[in-house]
């Protein structure tokens, strides 16, 4: 029996059609511009406060569509896009420091569609505006920091065992300590190797030039680097959450890079300052007059470079021990940061201050920075940019310890309330385990995003229209079949992308347009073949059958090779290229389904097992 499909094939097509419709529908409901309100203390804002915001918005002529509470956050939906920024400012001013106010786009998918957990495609940054950062984690600095901490602990150990050492030095992944005699060195080696099993030890020199060299094992280096990246990811997530951005993305990329995307962020400078800040604090004692030089360091004051102080090299605690921090003003109206330490930090601080009442304690502000310099190769004349990381340390306060300090205290000596607020935020969200540098940045203004969407959609529509007309003109009735299949193809493509949670980007739209153009190819192949078979004198039914049959291998071969290229594109690509590859791959698969099965089903339904004299093709 030629040109008849078993019932299950029709049912399968029907099921795919219905599923495709359900999951592509949410994209027809545009998202509402909204502002998102969450309490700064992590509690839910009260209804009373929301009502105050609403009435303030109405007073300013901003139309509120609805407000709702979800996951402890309030969403106020607005009618107009233009009101969004204005509304945020009004709400932020009204609620003050109680709440974090952020811009958001709220899903407007109707309830019955949400019941199928259908949701629209996420729009990429190029379509909705925002910032994209690519950050490089400085792995060498992560190593150095870890070695410094170890060196500090080793010195402590040696002092408590009364072993005299002269100098400690950190270079690359090795840490070396100089001793005055081989005997001291051997004792130290025994002690240290017991407590620090991660090192490989070698002894160099003898007598007065004795030296103990400790190198980190490969495995430990890997562990430290993994830890640094993961710690940085956590910290960045905390910071981004503090910024109050809706749907932020913080993701690892490759061995040492992190991608941060903040949709809808307008103030990129502030965002960058918070994301990239490497500020941390160190608490140290001031050196005594009789402290050996090897144990001291001199630092200048941040706000007065002329003043300096001699500090101990050993750190009591760093900002990492801070469990919470907030900013306020002291009795003289100067900005201050109130700090609460965690258990260990509190104990360390208490122990250090208890035995040192009357001495001065310094708070050091530490920032990792980098400087780019252009180096010209004297031989080739080639210019390369060398990035030189450096650490800036400055004293922010030096105060006498009046009594033993406990878990909570405050620090002053900051330049401005903004600085105090940012320092508090950074201490709260944790410090970065290793310094990071911006290696790539994209800021897309919201107007460009809206324009990209508009143009992208327009080109899809026009492209589609041209295709439909072309197919109708060329293949008549069969053109209708192909066009229905094309529409179905677009529906399924959008549905699959929505289901996979793929992000729609501008190159993604280009991918859709291109896929549509190529999608008709399979039908063109089949229809041309049918025409040819008709010319060769085959009967109508036989021609249809042979057309589909013979075009099949061509279609499969051609599509598989294109699919291969798309997959490679996906695996090597980043950002925009990936978006394109995803749409192209999905498009190839869906177009094969619609072109082969769907048009065949329609052809079979129309012509199958009927006496047909002439085909309108």
């Amino acid at each position: 029996m030629l040109n008849r499909y078993p019932l299950w094939k029709y049912l399968l097509i029907l099921v795919v059609l219905v599923v495709g419709l359900i999951y592509s529908l949410p994209n027809l409901f545009p998202e509402d511009p909204a502002i998102q309100l969450s309490s700064a203390q992590g509690e839910t804002l009260e209804l009373r406060q929301i009502q105050r915001v609403e009435s303030a918005l109405e007073e300013n002529g901003i139309a509120v569509k609805a407000s709702e509470q979800e996951n402890g956050q309030w969403l106020i939906r607005l009618r107009n896009d233009e009101d969004q920024l204005n509304a945020r400012d009004i709400a932020a001013e009204l609620l003050g420091s109680d709440a974090t106010v952020a811009l958001n786009l709220a899903e407007a998918t109707p309830g019955w569609l949400q019941a199928f957990s259908a949701s629209p495609m996420t729009l990429g940054l190029d379509l909705r505006g925002g910032v994209h950062f690519l950050l490089e984690v400085d792995m060498n600095a992560a190593l150095t920091q870890r070695l410094e901490v170890n060196a500090s602990a080793m010195r402590e150990l040696l002092r408590s065992e009364r072993i005299r050492y002269r100098n400690t030095e950190v270079e690359g992944r090795t840490l070396s300590i100089d001793f005055a005699s081989s005997e001291d060195r051997d004792n130290a080696r025994r002690l240290i190797s017991r407590d620090f099993p991660n090192f490989e030890f070698t002894s160099e020199g003898s007598d007065r030039s004795s030296r103990l060299v400790m190198t980190l094992s490969d495995q430990t280096v890997n562990e430290i680097q993994d830890y640094a990246i993961n710690q940085n990811l956590t910290t960045l997530r905390n910071r981004v959450n503090e910024l109050g951005v809706a749907e932020p993305m913080v993701q690892r990329q490759g061995p040492s890079q992190i991608v941060v995307e903040l949709p809808g962020v307008q103030d990129t400078v502030a965002a960058k300052r918070i994301v990239g800040a490497t500020a941390n604090l160190e608490f140290r004692l001031e050196a005594r007059n009789d402290t050996p030089d090897a144990e001291t360091e001199t630092h200048v004051f941040r706000n007065d470079p002329a003043r300096s102080a001699e500090l101990m090299r050993d750190v009591i605690i760093t900002g990492d021990s801070v469990s919470s921090a907030s900013n306020s003003f002291d009795e003289n109206g100067r900005p201050q940061v109130n700090i609460n330490l965690d258990g260990t930090g509190g104990t360390l601080m208490n122990r250090a201050t208890r035995t040192n009442i009357g001495r001065n304690m310094a708070v050091l502000f530490i920032e990792h920075k980098s400087e780019d310099t252009v180096v010209v190769d004297p031989e080739t004349g080639e210019e390369t940019i060398v990035r030189e990381p450096y650490v800036e340390r400055g004293l922010i306060s030096l105060a006498t310890i009046q009594s033993a300090l406990g878990n909570s205290f405050r620090i002053t000596g900051l330049d401005s309330p903004t600085e105090a607020a940012e320092l508090a935020l950074l201490l709260r969200s944790g410090s970065l385990a290793a310094p990071i540098y911006f290696v790539q940045e994209r800021t897309i203004g919201p107007s460009l995003g809206a324009e990209n969407i508009k143009r992208g959609l327009l080109s899809v529509q026009v492209g589609l229209l041209l295709l439909v007309l072309f197919m109708l003109a060329r293949y008549k009735v069969f053109g209708i079949f192909a066009n229905v299949a094309l529409a179905l193809n677009l529906t399924i493509l959008v549905a699959v992308m929505s289901m996979l949670g793929a992000t729609l980007t501008l190159p993604g739209i280009a991918g859709i347009v291109l896929t549509l153009g190529m999608a008709v190819d399979a039908n063109v192949l089949i229809f041309e073949r049918i025409r040819e078979e008709l010319r060769n004198g085959l009967s109508v039914q036989q021609a249809i059958h042979a057309g589909y049959e013979r075009a099949f291998t061509s279609i499969v071969d051609a599509n598989i090779t294109t699919l291969l290229v798309a997959v490679i594109l996906f695996s090597i690509g980043t950002g925009p290229v990936k978006g394109f590859a995803v749409t192209l791959s999905i498009g190839i698969l869906t177009s094969m389904f619609t072109a082969l099965m769907v048009t065949r089903a329609m052809v079979n339904l129309t012509y199958g097992s009927k006496p047909v004299k002439k085909l309108w093709i």
């Binding site: 940045e441 203004g445 291109l514 008709v520 041309e528 085959l538 090779t561 090597i572």
Partner: protein, 308 residues
């Protein structure tokens, strides 16, 4: 268009002309690549790019002068799309606040300036991308060649590979010749061209294989002619539809995907030409013969049975 399907064009007879045309295009392309080089985009070179929108069309020279006076080096200023949109490129090392610095600087002369986008790519990333992209192209070509060798025969694989190289070199060459900006999206377009042109080539090869198996004559050029002629209307129809939507993309899609659309348009054009002329005609010097495709005895029997 119907008469087209009855046409019998002697493609193979004119293959030398086609080879000359191709050779000229290749020489020009390679020449452009060597002497003019590609105008690589920010993605590959690294640097800073700032796009701003003015209230009224500004004078580019004034902007350039203002920037240079303020200590920016290697500044390039051009309009982008509309005359009120200005694209500023800085080759200098990155400074986190450069976007807002530039906007503030431009605003200082009393103009209404808005930041549309700011992009920064570190030089390392650029190098990395360049290596990765080159590798990606090679892997794509290699995998595709393996597939063709597996599905057809190695001579087809060589023909397809040469045809693809031909297409890629000409598209990249035209970008070098006209100094169009070559960025990541253009690279994506070129990979798509590989996919597309291959698609075309495979369809022609498929038909050549079929014709060799079914036809009784041994004259290869004639067989190729027959195969190409019978797929010609399909080839042109598909190129036509693809070019239609690409034109829509080029004219309506906006500035950010203009180069993408251009690369694909050229690629589809060249790809169509190469799948008609180059990939088929290349099989002649490769001495493709019926023996290369004659399958085992059993397969022939099946083939015969299928024929009415």
């Amino acid at each position: 268009m119907k008469p087209l399907s009855n046409l019998q064009i002697d493609f193979m007879g004119r293959r030398n002309l086609a080879f000359i045309v191709s050779a000229v295009m290749l020489v020009v392309s390679i020449g452009a690549l060597v002497f003019q080089q590609l105008n690589l985009g920010l993605d590959f070179t690294g640097g800073t790019l700032i796009e701003v929108r003015y209230g009224a069309a500004p004078s580019l020279d004034a902007i350039r002068q203002l920037m240079v006076e303020s200590g920016f080096r290697d500044v390039s200023v051009q309009t982008f799309g509309a005359s009120t949109e200005v694209l500023i490129r800085l080759q200098q090392a990155f400074d986190p606040d450069v976007g807002s610095d530039v906007v503030n600087l431009l605003r200082s002369s009393g103009e209404n300036v808005n930041l549309v986008r700011a992009e920064f790519v570190g030089s390392q990333v650029g190098d990395q991308l360049r290596d990765q992209s080159g590798l990606g192209l090679l892997v794509a070509l290699g995998v595709v060649m393996l597939y063709v060798a597996f599905r057809f025969q190695y001579k087809f694989a060589i023909g397809a590979l040469l045809a693809l190289l031909h297409d890629v070199i000409i598209v990249v060459g035209i970008f070098a010749l006209f100094q169009l900006e070559f960025d990541l999206t253009v690279l994506a377009a070129i990979l798509a061209v590989i996919g597309y042109s291959l698609n075309d080539t495979i369809v022609v090869y498929d038909r050549i294989r079929e014709t060799i198996r079914t036809s009784r004559i041994d004259d290869m050029p004639q067989i190729f002619n027959e195969a190409i002629n019978s797929t010609l209307s399909r080839t042109l129809a598909t190129s036509g539809t693809t070019m239609l939507v690409l034109l829509a993309l080029l004219l309506l899609g906006g500035d950010m995907i203009q180069n993408f659309a251009i690369a694909l348009l050229i690629g589809v054009g060249v790809g169509t030409f190469s799948s008609i002329y180059i990939s088929g005609a290349l099989l002649l010097p490769l001495k493709l013969s019926r023996e290369d495709l004659i399958p085992t005895k059993k397969a022939i029997d099946e083939e015969e049975e299928e024929l009415p």
